[in-house]
Assembly symmetry: C3
Homo-oligomer: 350 residues x 3
């Protein structure tokens, strides 16, 4: 919470990992490993008396569970708000005459929640009509503009908590991530999905020193230039590479990590019927045992929810190299590490 | 909770401030100021082990957040129930053959929740079809009839928690409220809204010794006689006045407080199309800088949610004399004070 | 929660009382009585730091409240999940190509929740299309198959927590249940309802040594053979009887307990229009004072929600021999006893 006397320094938000350095993120992962190893014994009062607003504009299972439980395990309380369902529809644009559907403005929502809570976490998926609009990430940006407490991204057009969970799982298995080969593969899904996790996997893998290959059906499935360029910069800084390919077997060859995700092609944004034939022609991008056999005994993961036998086969998903459950579990631990930092606490002492 | 051996004295409810004296309410505000000033340190175990049911028949953001967090900050737990969504539809009339939609009767709901919880809080807006029905406040009255624990109003046809939050904000700014000028102004909104906050602002301002002016488009917007008469009685007891006017500039002249709210005209209840032309003709009732300049450097407030640039301009809403955020924050503190009293605790010791 | 190193012994679930012995259930009731008598003082930290997932596929008021509050009163935290509303639709069949509605598979849901939580509680009503399908209880069985923590039934095709609550209420009133006469009577309801509570009342009453009479309109309302046969076996083991009758007055004669419930006739499953005339012809099965006068000063109960003056009259429901509120309250206490056991704790010490 912010007391009535407004603080003068704006809080540090967690909107995207683009403005968090690798060493800052590594430090969070170090904390997360401690929190995972000593879950029942440490950090149990780090959020004592504190509240976290979880503002969901879209469904959630793992995110809601892991945040609620993580906050509870640190002595705090999470309030789940679902504007438009259990709460009022909200306006995000500044200066408008509010005579349409929205009953209140994000300025009031963010400022009031800042009085009640210590952190505001927001999930706001794109509207999937115009990418030019969605890429502005208006909802969470406006929360951050008006909030006087830290705002945390629970998935908008990136999914930074998922990035941390994945990187923790990979470090647990691979030790170092530097120089390892990370394959981000598009897979079929009957509907065009958000690019958030793909964007996040790309920039996180690049930031953590992987050589990254992006495998997708056609050049139209390449991700937004903001994230492609950021990944290239991260790679360049560390002497690593970003490769885009449409050749399935070449992409899998020698991979240490295969990360699957489906997403909609940006040039067809809002005109999804036109994308459908391309999408439908690439069902063979499914992750299966034959493809995994091409890798360097690689690990498989996916962010969940995941359609089995559409994005990956049962054998891969439940197989010994699958990290899907581990990655999902890590959401809890990385988020606890993050929440502690956002309220100003230092590293966890073992 | 009530133990299985039923208690014999009915609990004191908080259904309306009409049956709470000014000194009782002032005492709650005194507690609320202490709770606000020492939020992290006092009353932290006052609800230890206790539970509060929050029964929502209508959406909420601030009410849900502030109650959940307030209960948590005092060591208790709030359960959010949404009958008709996550729970069963309920019958409120006694003695009926329940062969329609309702799956259970308020008698069972109230009696069972009384066994589980220590307080039952209810939000139940009017149905907006017949004011004769809505003014009976049947839902919360029936909860109070059957509950064996205190029932608390989270907004029905009045909004007594909002009254307390507003009065606390005004006392913080004005010191004494006696003899100050309180303007309650109707404002335009595209839909006819509940009169609850208007009723509440009227009776609270009168009870706290303000000279009250009610500004509205036509005599049809005057509030229900139950609240008009109560306000007149409170004013008479304290040598203050209640004035109704339709003259905007005269109403603002010299005001210390401008409180804005939109509501539907009672004579058109259920026939809202007929009210629309009057409503549409009074968009100029918006609170703006020109009107505020007529006041005695007055404070502005509104209960939220509020449509910006429809009910009040951006400049007024975000301006230095706006109390909207303070009033909303105060919900938390006054409710904590109230919850403590309802479970039988005395005044907060500083 | 299960730590990342998977445990090897599968957890003991609470899916049905069929595989819990009478003495195990009696032991839970003994604990529940202690927890009820000393609610504010014992077991307050038995779930400290632990979380329970409450997965609701159907509405709930008492179940949600009693579990949330029970977990809180033992120092834990309950997370409420509503797949299909606030979370993703789920696939339950193994090995399918998930190209329809479901976005994720129960295997992932159960395995991930097992990492976050210590217990997973599930409410999943039948779909009411084919009883052959519904009687497989697929949803909770699949949760139990994949979960690595205990899974608890919050009502599927049986309602074992309700059984415990009822048996506790009856033991409180009757002392011993052995040899007492338990009447389970079908009652009218405008819609065909789940047989879960009827199945549960039947097997619980038989297991606890009652002589059980099942009163229903026609032979088509007899319950599924799985539960009829189990009840007969329990009765045979204890020298008691199970009687089916369609003669109202004979059934009530000398009963110590009248337990009312409506349900749909299994032969008409999915063809409910054909059942309607039979149902409509038996509105006189309502529990009223005349029928209760035929009993041995019997107690009345029902699981709630209950339609007044359809299933039982006001006079019976609110009368001095009604246990509906007591049974509902007992949900809290028996569930606390059960939750303790599922996390491996022994009997409550007084």
């Amino acid at each position: 919470m912010t007391t009535s006397t407004a603080q003068t320094t704006p809080p540090r938000h967690f909107l995207s990992t683009l403005d968090w350095s690798r060493s800052e993120l590594e430090s969070l992962l170090t904390d997360a490993r401690e929190l995972k190893a000593n879950r029942r014994t440490i950090a149990r009062q780090d959020l004592a008396g504190k509240s976290v607003a979880l503002v969901f504009f879209n469904p959630s299972l793992r995110t809601r569970s892991s945040f609620e439980i993580g906050v509870f395990e640190m002595g705090g309380h999470a309030v789940v708000l679902e504007p438009g369902k259990g709460a009022w529809p909200i306006e995000y644009r500044d200066g408008v005459v509010m005579d349409a559907e929205a009953e209140e403005h994000v300025e009031e929502v963010a400022r009031v929640l800042s009085r009640y809570c210590d952190i505001i976490a927001v999930r706001a998926f794109p509207k999937f009509q115009r990418w030019e609009d969605d890429r502005e990430d208006l909802v969470i940006r406006q929360f951050a503009k008006y909030a006087t407490v830290p705002v945390l991204n629970m998935e908008t057009i990136t999914h930074p908590c998922q990035e941390l969970a994945l990187m923790l799982a990979l470090k647990e298995k691979l030790g170092t991530t530097d120089g390892k080969k990370f394959l981000l593969t598009w897979t079929y899904h009957p509907r065009p999905l958000n690019t958030a996790v793909a964007n996040s996997a790309l920039i996180a893998a690049a930031k953590f020193g992987f050589d990254v290959t992006l495998l997708c059906p056609t050049p139209e499935y390449v991700l937004d230039s903001r994230y492609m360029d950021a990944a290239k910069n991260f790679a360049a800084e560390q002497g690593r590479s970003i490769t885009v390919t449409h050749d399935v077997d070449a992409a899998y060859a020698g991979a240490n990590v295969v990360y699957a995700k489906s997403w909609g092609a940006l040039p067809y944004f809002g005109r999804w019927e036109e994308e459908k034939p391309i999408r439908d022609a690439h069902k063979h991008f499914i992750v299966d045992e034959r493809k995994m056999a091409l890798t360097d005994n690689g690990y498989f993961s996916h962010c969940l929810p995941m359609r089995r036998n559409v994005k990956a086969t049962d054998a891969v998903t439940s197989g010994p190299r699958s990290l899907v459950i581990e990655e999902a579990e890590n959401r809890l631990h990385v988020q606890k590490a993050l929440l502690r930092r956002l309220v100003g606490l230092g590293g966890v002492s073992p």
